[in-house]
Amino acid sequence: MYPSEFEYHRAASIKEAIGLIQRYGEDAKLLSGGHSLLPILKMRLAQPRHLVDIARIAELGQVTEQGGRIVVGAAARHHQVHTSELIRSKLGLLAECAGNIGDVQVRNRGTIGGSLAHSDPAADYPAAVLALEGEVRLEGPAGARSVKASDFFVDLMTTAIQPGEILTAVSFAPLPAGAGYAYLKHRQPASGFAMVGVAALLTLDQGGKCQGARVGITGLGAKAFRAAAVESAINGKAPDGKALADAAAHAADGVDPLGDIHASPDFRAELARVYTRRALEAAAARARR
């Protein structure tokens, strides 16, 4: 419960942070909100010699609109994402998801970049970022690159981030006009993490049929994923109860569900189906033709 000794570096810029990471290599860890890292340090499960604090790099904490996309800096706190006017008006699903993370204290400290980079299988954000088809910006000594959310989450707590790279932002196209969305989760009672979390997004065409449905699911498997079978089952259908339920029945298709003391694989799969249906229902109810 007492971390081993480390040297603390507060980076003033992304460039400086990249330089520090490059200099110390595997001896360094990035510190942002600290919500995943600090418990690991306290248990001495990780004993990095250097912590590079990127939470106070001004540009990382901003939410801006650039070239028609909304860019959320990696160090934006959950509370900030939840309450940002820009995000609320153009990326309501992300704001709703952020407001469902942990509790007030967690939301005041935790950052979106930290959550995505840590890629806990039960984290909330990945579901919404997948459904919103976000693009993760990674910057390293070789420059910057963009990775689609669908390529970013690789496996259990494993992402596309390469050694030396820093996740600096995640960007999104604004929601289409009239889009309906919902993020619903079944909370793990102790941690508040998602036993299952479903982010659903859809629009309705002139005839009132679903189109462009996108469903991101977290908590169920080793990593968050897009429920393609659900999406294809609902697109082109009127969002009546049966159609949504039939589509949601595919929520756990092809996924190897996690099991622990809080929920068995069977139950998680069932929760995924139920919450997917409910999220689709809520999204459909909010969608405008």
Partner: protein, 777 residues
């Protein structure tokens, strides 16, 4: 001058709170002494293992380290940890493991350094060579032949096997129309006080005097046991319970760390601090509950319960802590609840397992008992197709029967169980509610109504009823200072209960002074006369009575002095608005200060009277108090997810007379929260190999506000005849009534499906599975 109001019975805010919420309280970790060192403890990663060797060589060379010790280094200096409750087999309980470890989290070594980081660095260098052994975590498996044995010297894992048969039970079985049989489990819970444990010790070699600050509920008892463990005179030890951030029973104990930190200070001649971390708290501080009960209940077809027969398997954990084997006794004695059940018999098998010891946890034996009694009532109602409220009513001990002697031999002081039930039923409009439930069921909704009529036992006494070295009395000293302000020294040791407020209310009213004229001191054995402590909802019933006895002595003395000054007989004088006045005409008075000054300055001595205004009383009760009440929960189950949603939560509690309504409500709120937590959320889980799975608050589900209902509270007032205040106790009531009430509500919701039993905690998955199985079946 402003008129001083009356305080007893008024909704006044806790006087403790401003310092607590402004960071001005002094907890153990706030004690900072010159030259102080910090100790960190290495704990066993194994549930059961032989220790071949402990190599401290490298650890002792670590930078900044002053001392590293393991079991062999202290076993001759510190005696076994005490268990004062009777048991057939009480094992040697070392402060640091010797030869073997028996649970995950058992202390193995300690490092002392300038700070905790250096100490932890040193511990990382300790090399312990373990031979892992098979572990046993299930108490039912621990007591069968061939189970791994924890304490080889006993050749068995049975700490105590107690059988209390009853001829009345045989008769009840013969006369029964039916015998209902079922098994219930009170799962293992972790108390999780907001502040974990913490100890600071300072040995003064010149004075040969030890001061120990410990986050404890029992400073005096701790001093007595430390004196034995460390072989010091009690007059050489001062124990201070500084601000204590909750205990819930887990600090009603004597822990190895308390003796170890004291020993380290004596050994090193420097102050030493140890602060428990949350992971240590969950692994290494006593747990509660963990009882399995097989019940046989002979009944008549009209719902009359003729007896309750229980076979208990009680999980002691690896060692016996202070009162470990005493806790289950209350479960058996109280399992007939508030019902006139003529026969009781029980067997209790207390088993050693590779887990931390169990001991008192809020309710300590009575929540388990109430869970039995209140499940019995609902099971009987279900079996006979009767209304659960009606079954309770038919079995209640009637108001006219008090004081009532139960089949277990307890004497219930006072009660009116039907009144509390009626009030609770009226609050929920029970008839309409049942009709709404029927209508909802027809729509496919699962609404459940759960009742629990509880009775519990508080202020346990007389002393002969308690184990050796634990007393039933309580003490108080009251001092009117020369400026007529009052100091109270109470033997209880509040750690959230608020006696700094309630005791000041009592004294202020008794002496006609303002509440701010009274200060209440507790938790320091060098200042306060010997006391017993705070546990078992005893502080106000016993400590408050001792306080009023001491106040009475001072009232008498003050009146006697005033009588000489006013030329009126003492029995015609009253305390009013900082004066002593004629009862018949309070305008005829003299200032209290004048009388106090006379007592201290003593210029006109009164024959036979000593100077000063200081009185001490010890109150030994003649019996226990028995608070009671009825809780009603209305829940709705989401059949797709098994999630339980509260629609209503009504609690009618009777704790006798109420001194401080706001504090009573606070106690009930917190109690209900913890009781609901047992019903729905909390469970300590060890896996088969004895690893603690719920090792952090990321997995051990202490409820958040959003997981709890809005409470609708009401009370009835049935004074206790056993103390002059008429109070009973309220610290545990909420915990005791709420657990069965919520379980009954959930099972009532599932009744149409034929679901009869789900073991706590009623997690969504268990409910979902029960529903699924019912649909299949």
């Amino acid at each position: 001058m402003a008129v001083i109001p009356k305080f007893v019975g008024e909704r006044i805010k806790r006087r403790e709170d401003p310092r607590l919420i402004q960071g001005q309280a002094t907890y153990a970790d706030d004690v900072r002494l010159t030259g102080m060192l910090t100790a960190v403890i290495l704990r066993s990663p194994h549930a059961h293992a032989k220790i071949n060797s402990v190599d401290l060589t490298a650890a002792r060379k670590a930078p900044g380290v002053v001392c590293v010790l393991a079991g062999e280094d202290v076993r001759d200096s510190i005696a076994t940890l005490p268990c004062v409750a009777p048991a057939e087999r009480i094992p040697f309980h070392p402060t640091l493991a010797v030869g073997k470890v028996r649970y995950v989290g058992e202390p193995v070594a300690v490092a002392v350094a300038a700070d905790a980081y250096r100490a932890q660095d040193a511990l990382d260098l300790v090399e312990v060579d373990y031979d892992p052994l098979d572990a046993v975590v299930d108490p039912e498996k621990a007591i069968v032949d061939g189970a791994p044995i924890l304490h080889e010297e006993f050749g068995t894992n049975v700490a105590l096997n107690m059988s209390v048969p009853s001829p009345a039970m045989d008769e009840a079985m013969r006369n029964a129309d039916k015998v209902v049989r079922f098994r219930i489990v009170n799962q293992r819970l972790a108390p999780i006080p907001m502040e974990p444990r913490g100890v600071v010790a300072q040995w003064n070699p010149g004075q040969r005097h030890l001061t120990v600050w410990s986050s404890t509920q029992i400073p005096h008892m701790l001093r007595s046991r430390l004196a034995e463990m460390l072989k010091l005179g009690e007059n050489r030890i001062r124990v201070i319970a500084p601000e204590v951030g909750g205990g819930f029973g887990c600090k009603l104990n004597v822990y190895g760390e308390e003796a170890l930190v004291a020993h380290l200070s004596m050994r090193l001649g420097r102050p030493v601090k140890w602060i428990e971390r949350r992971r240590e708290n969950i692994a290494g501080t006593t747990h509660g509950r963990d009882q399995i009960t097989y019940l046989e209940v002979p009944i008549k077809n009209d719902g009359t319960v003729l007896g309750i027969k229980g076979r208990f398997i009680c999980d002691m954990g690896a060692y016996l802590q202070l009162l470990t084997p005493a806790v289950p006794g209350f479960s058996a004695l109280m399992m007939t609840g508030c019902y006139k059940i003529p026969a009781i018999s029980f067997e209790q098998v207390m088993a050693f397992t590779n887990k931390i010891a169990t001991d008192a946890y809020r309710g300590a034996g009575r929540p388990e008992a109430c869970y039995i009694a209140e499940r019995v009532m609902d099971v009987v109602a279900g079996e006979l197709g009767l209304d659960p409220a009606e079954v309770r009513r038919r079995n209640f001990i009637p108001k006219s029967a008090f004081p009532a002697t139960t089949a277990a031999g307890l004497v219930y002081d006072s009660g009116d169980y039907e009144q509390a039930l009626d009030k609770a039923l009226a609050m929920v409009d029970y008839k309409t509610l049942r009709a709404e439930q029927d209508a909802a069921r027809k729509q496919g909704r699962y609404i459940g109504i759960g009742l629990a009529s509880y009775v519990e036992i508080c202020g346990i006494g007389p002393s002969a009823m308690l184990p050796p070295k634990v007393q039933g009395w309580e003490s108080a000293t009251v001092r009117v200072e020369p400026d007529s302000r009052v100091t109270v020294l109470t033997g209880v040791s509040p750690h959230g209960q608020g006696q700094e407020t309630t005791f000041a209310q009592l004294v202020a009213d008794a002496l006609g002074i303002d509440i701010d004229d009274v200060s209440v001191i507790h938790g320091d054995t060098a200042i306060v006369q010997y006391g017993v402590g705070t546990f078992g909802s005893r502080a106000t019933a016993l400590g408050g009575t001792a306080l009023m006895m001491a106040v009475g002595k001072l009232q008498e003395k003050l009146k006697k002095i005033a009588s000489t000054m006013m030329e009126a007989p003492p029995d015609q004088l009253v305390f009013n608005q900082r004066t002593i006045a004629l009862a018949s005409d309070i305008s005829k008075s003299i200032p209290l200060q004048q009388v106090v000054t006379a007592a201290y300055d003593f210029k006109q001595p009164i024959p036979g009277m000593e100077p000063g205004l200081d009185a001490t009383s010890f109150f030994e009760p003649t019996g226990c108090t028995f608070p009671f009440g009825t809780h009603v929960a209305v829940v709705e189950i989401d059949p797709e997810t098994g999630v339980v949603k509260f629609l209503r939560y009504v609690a009618v509690d009777d704790c006798g007379k109420i001194i401080s309504p706001l504090l009573v409500e606070g106690q009930i709120h917190g109690g209900i929260a913890q009781g609901i937590a047992q019903a729905l959320y909390e469970e300590v889980v060890y896996d088969e190999s004895g690893q603690l799975v719920t090792a952090t608050l990321m997995d051990y589900a202490v409820p958040r506000a959003e997981m709890l209902p809005h409470y609708e509270l009401a009370s009835t007032v049935t004074p206790s005849p056993l103390n002059p205040l008429g109070v009973k106790g309220v610290g545990e009531a909420g915990t005791i009534g709420s657990t069965p009430c919520v379980v009954n509500a959930v099972l009532d919701a599932l009744r149409p499906l034929g679901v009869k039993q789900i073991d706590m905690p009623l997690k969504p998955e268990k409910i979902w599975r029960a529903i699924k199985a019912a649909h299949k079946g």
